[in-house]
Symmetry: C2
Subunit: 152 residues, 2 copies
DNA sequence: CCCATATCAATTGCGCGCAATTTGATTTTG
DNA sequence: CAAAATCAAATTGCGCGCAATTGATATGGG
Protein backbone atom coordinates (compact mmCIF):
# COMPACT_ATOMS: atom_id res chain seq x y z
CA UNK A 1 0.00 0.00 0.00
CA UNK A 2 1.74 3.06 1.37
CA UNK A 3 0.23 5.33 -1.23
CA UNK A 4 3.13 7.65 -1.84
CA UNK A 5 2.78 11.39 -1.35
CA UNK A 6 0.76 13.02 -4.11
CA UNK A 7 -1.15 15.93 -2.69
CA UNK A 8 0.38 19.27 -2.20
CA UNK A 9 3.65 17.77 -3.31
CA UNK A 10 2.55 18.21 -6.82
CA UNK A 11 2.41 21.94 -6.24
CA UNK A 12 5.94 21.84 -4.96
CA UNK A 13 7.13 19.97 -7.98
CA UNK A 14 5.14 22.24 -10.26
CA UNK A 15 6.88 25.27 -8.76
CA UNK A 16 10.21 23.49 -8.90
CA UNK A 17 10.01 22.58 -12.56
CA UNK A 18 8.38 25.86 -13.51
CA UNK A 19 11.33 27.68 -12.01
CA UNK A 20 13.77 25.54 -13.97
CA UNK A 21 11.83 26.12 -17.16
CA UNK A 22 11.99 29.85 -16.47
CA UNK A 23 15.71 29.65 -15.97
CA UNK A 24 16.08 27.89 -19.29
CA UNK A 25 13.91 30.48 -20.99
CA UNK A 26 15.95 33.32 -19.54
CA UNK A 27 19.31 31.85 -20.42
CA UNK A 28 19.37 32.71 -24.14
CA UNK A 29 17.97 36.17 -23.43
CA UNK A 30 20.52 36.94 -20.74
CA UNK A 31 23.52 35.38 -22.43
CA UNK A 32 24.07 38.38 -24.75
CA UNK A 33 24.29 40.54 -21.62
CA UNK A 34 26.73 38.14 -20.00
CA UNK A 35 24.40 37.56 -17.05
CA UNK A 36 22.93 34.56 -15.31
CA UNK A 37 19.42 34.80 -13.92
CA UNK A 38 20.51 35.39 -10.31
CA UNK A 39 22.97 38.03 -11.53
CA UNK A 40 20.13 39.61 -13.49
CA UNK A 41 18.04 39.74 -10.32
CA UNK A 42 20.84 41.56 -8.53
CA UNK A 43 21.07 44.02 -11.39
CA UNK A 44 17.30 44.58 -11.19
CA UNK A 45 17.65 45.42 -7.52
CA UNK A 46 20.49 47.83 -8.23
CA UNK A 47 18.72 49.49 -11.14
CA UNK A 48 15.93 50.20 -8.72
CA UNK A 49 18.27 51.68 -6.11
CA UNK A 50 22.01 51.99 -6.56
CA UNK A 51 24.47 51.77 -3.68
CA UNK A 52 22.90 49.08 -1.52
CA UNK A 53 24.75 46.90 0.95
CA UNK A 54 25.15 43.17 0.47
CA UNK A 55 22.70 42.67 3.29
CA UNK A 56 20.03 44.86 1.70
CA UNK A 57 20.37 43.07 -1.62
CA UNK A 58 20.13 39.79 0.22
CA UNK A 59 16.96 40.85 2.00
CA UNK A 60 15.28 41.77 -1.23
CA UNK A 61 16.25 38.57 -2.99
CA UNK A 62 16.19 36.30 0.06
CA UNK A 63 19.81 35.32 -0.46
CA UNK A 64 22.70 35.28 1.99
CA UNK A 65 26.30 36.42 1.74
CA UNK A 66 27.45 32.90 0.93
CA UNK A 67 25.58 33.20 -2.33
CA UNK A 68 25.97 36.91 -2.95
CA UNK A 69 29.63 37.46 -2.23
CA UNK A 70 30.98 35.29 -5.07
CA UNK A 71 28.16 36.42 -7.37
CA UNK A 72 28.98 40.08 -6.75
CA UNK A 73 32.65 39.41 -7.29
CA UNK A 74 31.79 38.02 -10.71
CA UNK A 75 29.69 41.07 -11.51
CA UNK A 76 32.64 43.18 -10.42
CA UNK A 77 35.01 41.22 -12.65
CA UNK A 78 32.74 41.71 -15.66
CA UNK A 79 32.68 45.39 -14.84
CA UNK A 80 29.03 45.97 -14.00
CA UNK A 81 29.44 46.85 -10.31
CA UNK A 82 31.97 48.05 -7.75
CA UNK A 83 32.22 46.84 -4.16
CA UNK A 84 33.52 49.14 -1.44
CA UNK A 85 33.56 48.93 2.33
CA UNK A 86 31.27 51.49 3.90
CA UNK A 87 32.96 54.52 5.43
CA UNK A 88 30.52 54.90 8.29
CA UNK A 89 30.39 51.19 9.08
CA UNK A 90 33.30 49.18 7.83
CA UNK A 91 31.53 45.90 8.33
CA UNK A 92 29.31 46.44 5.37
CA UNK A 93 30.12 46.41 1.68
CA UNK A 94 28.32 48.83 -0.57
CA UNK A 95 27.61 47.83 -4.14
CA UNK A 96 27.47 50.48 -6.87
CA UNK A 97 26.69 50.22 -10.55
CA UNK A 98 29.38 51.19 -13.01
CA UNK A 99 28.49 53.26 -16.06
CA UNK A 100 28.37 50.04 -18.02
CA UNK A 101 26.19 48.39 -15.43
CA UNK A 102 23.75 51.26 -15.47
CA UNK A 103 23.70 51.31 -19.26
CA UNK A 104 22.84 47.64 -19.35
CA UNK A 105 19.31 48.31 -18.18
CA UNK A 106 18.44 49.59 -21.65
CA UNK A 107 19.52 46.37 -23.26
CA UNK A 108 17.59 44.42 -20.66
CA UNK A 109 14.41 46.40 -21.16
CA UNK A 110 12.92 44.01 -23.68
CA UNK A 111 13.43 40.86 -21.66
CA UNK A 112 10.25 40.87 -19.56
CA UNK A 113 8.16 41.45 -22.65
CA UNK A 114 9.77 38.56 -24.46
CA UNK A 115 9.22 36.32 -21.51
CA UNK A 116 5.65 37.33 -20.94
CA UNK A 117 5.11 36.58 -24.59
CA UNK A 118 6.80 33.20 -24.29
CA UNK A 119 4.45 32.32 -21.47
CA UNK A 120 1.50 33.59 -23.41
CA UNK A 121 -0.25 34.83 -20.30
CA UNK A 122 -2.17 38.01 -19.77
CA UNK A 123 -1.10 40.58 -17.24
CA UNK A 124 -3.95 39.83 -14.89
CA UNK A 125 -3.15 36.17 -14.82
CA UNK A 126 0.49 36.91 -14.17
CA UNK A 127 -0.21 39.38 -11.39
CA UNK A 128 -2.64 36.99 -9.77
CA UNK A 129 -0.21 34.10 -9.81
CA UNK A 130 2.54 36.30 -8.47
CA UNK A 131 0.46 37.45 -5.51
CA UNK A 132 -0.48 33.94 -4.57
CA UNK A 133 3.04 32.60 -4.84
CA UNK A 134 4.44 35.39 -2.72
CA UNK A 135 1.71 34.91 -0.14
CA UNK A 136 2.45 31.20 0.12
CA UNK A 137 6.17 31.87 0.24
CA UNK A 138 5.75 34.24 3.14
CA UNK A 139 3.50 31.84 4.97
CA UNK A 140 6.16 29.16 4.55
CA UNK A 141 8.68 31.51 6.09
CA UNK A 142 6.77 31.55 9.35
CA UNK A 143 7.14 28.86 11.97
CA UNK A 144 4.75 26.64 10.11
CA UNK A 145 2.06 24.40 11.43
CA UNK A 146 1.96 25.30 15.08
CA UNK A 147 2.81 21.71 15.91
CA UNK A 148 5.70 22.21 18.26
CA UNK A 149 7.72 25.24 19.15
CA UNK A 150 6.62 26.24 22.68
CA UNK A 151 7.71 29.82 22.17
CA UNK A 152 10.37 32.13 20.75
CA UNK B 1 14.64 56.99 -17.46
CA UNK B 2 14.97 53.40 -18.55
CA UNK B 3 12.28 52.17 -16.22
CA UNK B 4 13.74 48.83 -15.26
CA UNK B 5 11.85 45.62 -15.96
CA UNK B 6 8.97 45.08 -13.59
CA UNK B 7 6.21 43.27 -15.37
CA UNK B 8 6.20 39.55 -15.70
CA UNK B 9 9.58 39.54 -14.08
CA UNK B 10 7.90 39.74 -10.79
CA UNK B 11 6.19 36.46 -11.50
CA UNK B 12 9.55 34.94 -12.29
CA UNK B 13 11.03 36.19 -9.08
CA UNK B 14 7.95 35.10 -7.17
CA UNK B 15 8.35 31.57 -8.51
CA UNK B 16 12.07 31.69 -7.86
CA UNK B 17 11.80 32.71 -4.24
CA UNK B 18 8.76 30.53 -3.61
CA UNK B 19 10.80 27.54 -4.77
CA UNK B 20 13.63 28.45 -2.42
CA UNK B 21 11.21 28.88 0.44
CA UNK B 22 9.80 25.44 -0.32
CA UNK B 23 13.26 23.97 -0.30
CA UNK B 24 13.91 25.50 3.08
CA UNK B 25 10.60 24.18 4.38
CA UNK B 26 11.34 20.69 3.12
CA UNK B 27 14.85 20.53 4.51
CA UNK B 28 14.01 19.87 8.17
CA UNK B 29 11.32 17.36 7.16
CA UNK B 30 13.61 15.45 4.82
CA UNK B 31 16.71 15.56 6.96
CA UNK B 32 15.58 12.71 9.23
CA UNK B 33 15.24 10.58 6.09
CA UNK B 34 18.69 11.58 4.89
CA UNK B 35 17.28 13.06 1.69
CA UNK B 36 17.57 16.35 -0.15
CA UNK B 37 14.52 17.64 -2.00
CA UNK B 38 15.71 16.50 -5.45
CA UNK B 39 16.55 13.10 -4.00
CA UNK B 40 13.07 12.99 -2.50
CA UNK B 41 11.59 13.71 -5.92
CA UNK B 42 13.52 10.77 -7.37
CA UNK B 43 12.24 8.56 -4.59
CA UNK B 44 8.68 9.73 -5.33
CA UNK B 45 9.13 8.71 -8.93
CA UNK B 46 10.47 5.31 -7.93
CA UNK B 47 7.77 4.71 -5.34
CA UNK B 48 5.32 5.24 -8.15
CA UNK B 49 7.09 2.80 -10.45
CA UNK B 50 10.20 0.87 -9.51
CA UNK B 51 12.86 -0.13 -12.01
CA UNK B 52 12.97 2.91 -14.27
CA UNK B 53 15.91 3.97 -16.39
CA UNK B 54 17.84 7.15 -15.75
CA UNK B 55 16.28 8.57 -18.86
CA UNK B 56 12.74 7.85 -17.72
CA UNK B 57 13.37 9.41 -14.33
CA UNK B 58 14.87 12.40 -16.09
CA UNK B 59 11.83 12.81 -18.30
CA UNK B 60 9.49 12.83 -15.36
CA UNK B 61 11.53 15.31 -13.40
CA UNK B 62 12.90 17.28 -16.35
CA UNK B 63 16.47 16.56 -15.30
CA UNK B 64 19.39 15.26 -17.31
CA UNK B 65 22.04 12.64 -16.60
CA UNK B 66 24.51 15.31 -15.53
CA UNK B 67 22.28 15.97 -12.57
CA UNK B 68 20.89 12.50 -12.02
CA UNK B 69 24.00 10.35 -12.25
CA UNK B 70 25.73 11.80 -9.19
CA UNK B 71 22.43 12.10 -7.33
CA UNK B 72 21.62 8.44 -7.95
CA UNK B 73 25.10 7.43 -6.90
CA UNK B 74 24.49 9.18 -3.61
CA UNK B 75 21.17 7.40 -3.19
CA UNK B 76 23.01 4.15 -3.93
CA UNK B 77 25.67 4.96 -1.35
CA UNK B 78 23.02 5.61 1.31
CA UNK B 79 21.46 2.30 0.38
CA UNK B 80 18.07 3.38 -0.99
CA UNK B 81 18.53 2.29 -4.61
CA UNK B 82 20.61 0.02 -6.82
CA UNK B 83 21.86 0.87 -10.30
CA UNK B 84 22.38 -1.86 -12.88
CA UNK B 85 23.04 -1.81 -16.61
CA UNK B 86 20.07 -3.14 -18.55
CA UNK B 87 20.45 -6.63 -19.95
CA UNK B 88 18.55 -5.99 -23.15
CA UNK B 89 20.18 -2.62 -23.77
CA UNK B 90 23.47 -2.09 -22.06
CA UNK B 91 23.43 1.63 -22.69
CA UNK B 92 20.78 2.22 -20.11
CA UNK B 93 21.00 1.99 -16.35
CA UNK B 94 18.02 0.71 -14.45
CA UNK B 95 17.33 2.04 -10.99
CA UNK B 96 15.67 -0.19 -8.40
CA UNK B 97 14.58 0.50 -4.86
CA UNK B 98 16.21 -1.48 -2.09
CA UNK B 99 14.09 -2.83 0.75
CA UNK B 100 15.14 0.15 2.77
CA UNK B 101 14.28 2.51 -0.04
CA UNK B 102 10.84 1.04 -0.41
CA UNK B 103 10.27 1.12 3.33
CA UNK B 104 11.13 4.80 3.41
CA UNK B 105 7.85 5.74 1.76
CA UNK B 106 6.06 5.08 5.04
CA UNK B 107 8.22 7.54 6.87
CA UNK B 108 7.72 10.06 4.09
CA UNK B 109 3.95 9.73 4.10
CA UNK B 110 3.36 12.61 6.47
CA UNK B 111 5.47 15.12 4.65
CA UNK B 112 2.94 16.47 2.14
CA UNK B 113 0.41 16.99 4.89
CA UNK B 114 2.88 18.91 7.01
CA UNK B 115 3.78 21.05 4.05
CA UNK B 116 0.24 21.71 2.99
CA UNK B 117 -0.38 22.74 6.56
CA UNK B 118 2.64 25.02 6.61
CA UNK B 119 1.33 26.76 3.52
CA UNK B 120 -2.10 27.00 5.01
CA UNK B 121 -3.77 26.58 1.67
CA UNK B 122 -6.85 24.59 0.75
CA UNK B 123 -6.68 21.74 -1.69
CA UNK B 124 -8.55 23.64 -4.36
CA UNK B 125 -6.16 26.54 -4.22
CA UNK B 126 -3.20 24.20 -4.39
CA UNK B 127 -4.56 22.23 -7.33
CA UNK B 128 -5.41 25.39 -9.19
CA UNK B 129 -1.96 26.89 -8.72
CA UNK B 130 -0.33 23.64 -9.74
CA UNK B 131 -2.30 23.42 -12.98
CA UNK B 132 -1.46 26.93 -13.99
CA UNK B 133 2.23 26.62 -13.17
CA UNK B 134 2.52 23.42 -15.15
CA UNK B 135 0.67 24.97 -18.05
CA UNK B 136 3.01 27.96 -18.08
CA UNK B 137 6.02 25.70 -17.72
CA UNK B 138 5.00 23.67 -20.74
CA UNK B 139 4.34 26.76 -22.78
CA UNK B 140 7.82 27.98 -21.91
CA UNK B 141 9.21 24.70 -23.14
CA UNK B 142 7.98 25.41 -26.64
CA UNK B 143 9.90 27.55 -29.10
CA UNK B 144 8.47 30.65 -27.53
CA UNK B 145 7.33 33.84 -29.13
CA UNK B 146 7.53 32.99 -32.81
CA UNK B 147 9.95 35.85 -33.26
CA UNK B 148 12.73 34.18 -35.14
CA UNK B 149 13.53 30.55 -35.83
CA UNK B 150 12.86 30.00 -39.55
CA UNK B 151 12.54 26.26 -39.13
CA UNK B 152 14.09 23.16 -37.55
C1' DC C 1 28.17 -7.20 -43.29
C1' DC C 2 29.96 -2.78 -42.05
C1' DC C 3 29.95 1.82 -41.33
C1' DA C 4 27.46 6.12 -40.24
C1' DT C 5 24.27 7.77 -37.12
C1' DA C 6 21.68 7.90 -33.01
C1' DT C 7 21.07 7.01 -28.19
C1' DC C 8 22.19 6.51 -23.20
C1' DA C 9 24.92 7.37 -19.32
C1' DA C 10 28.98 9.35 -17.39
C1' DT C 11 32.17 13.10 -16.96
C1' DT C 12 33.84 17.94 -16.70
C1' DG C 13 33.37 22.62 -15.64
C1' DC C 14 30.90 26.44 -13.79
C1' DG C 15 27.49 28.99 -11.07
C1' DC C 16 24.32 29.01 -7.74
C1' DG C 17 22.06 28.18 -2.71
C1' DC C 18 22.72 27.32 1.88
C1' DA C 19 24.54 25.64 6.44
C1' DA C 20 28.30 26.42 9.32
C1' DT C 21 32.33 28.72 10.58
C1' DT C 22 35.64 32.58 10.55
C1' DT C 23 37.28 37.32 10.57
C1' DG C 24 36.85 41.80 11.68
C1' DA C 25 34.09 45.89 13.11
C1' DT C 26 30.58 47.82 16.08
C1' DT C 27 27.47 48.10 19.80
C1' DT C 28 26.08 46.93 24.36
C1' DT C 29 26.95 46.40 29.06
C1' DG C 30 29.04 45.83 33.33
C1' DC D 1 36.58 52.06 29.36
C1' DA D 2 37.05 47.11 28.65
C1' DA D 3 34.85 42.63 28.04
C1' DA D 4 31.11 40.50 25.87
C1' DA D 5 27.63 40.22 22.66
C1' DT D 6 26.17 41.38 18.14
C1' DC D 7 26.59 42.10 13.41
C1' DA D 8 28.35 42.14 8.32
C1' DA D 9 30.76 39.85 4.98
C1' DA D 10 33.78 36.27 3.59
C1' DT D 11 35.02 31.50 3.45
C1' DT D 12 34.39 26.41 3.26
C1' DG D 13 32.05 22.38 1.97
C1' DC D 14 28.43 20.01 -0.32
C1' DG D 15 24.64 19.14 -3.57
C1' DC D 16 22.27 20.46 -7.30
C1' DG D 17 21.30 22.03 -12.55
C1' DC D 18 22.91 22.32 -16.98
C1' DA D 19 25.89 22.86 -21.18
C1' DA D 20 29.25 20.39 -23.55
C1' DT D 21 31.96 16.49 -24.29
C1' DT D 22 33.12 11.57 -24.15
C1' DG D 23 32.64 6.60 -24.47
C1' DA D 24 30.14 2.72 -25.15
C1' DT D 25 26.24 0.42 -27.24
C1' DA D 26 22.51 -0.02 -30.61
C1' DT D 27 20.39 0.60 -35.07
C1' DG D 28 19.59 1.45 -39.93
C1' DG D 29 21.22 2.02 -44.70
C1' DG D 30 24.06 0.84 -48.33
Amino acid sequence: MTSAPKLSDQLCFAAYSFTHALNRAYRPLLEPLGLTYPQYLVMLVLWEADGQTVKEIGERLKLDSGTLTPLLKRLETIGYVTRRRGKADERQVIVHLTEEGRALSDKAAGIPVELGCAMGAELGEIANLRERLLALRDRLGETGCAVGEPET
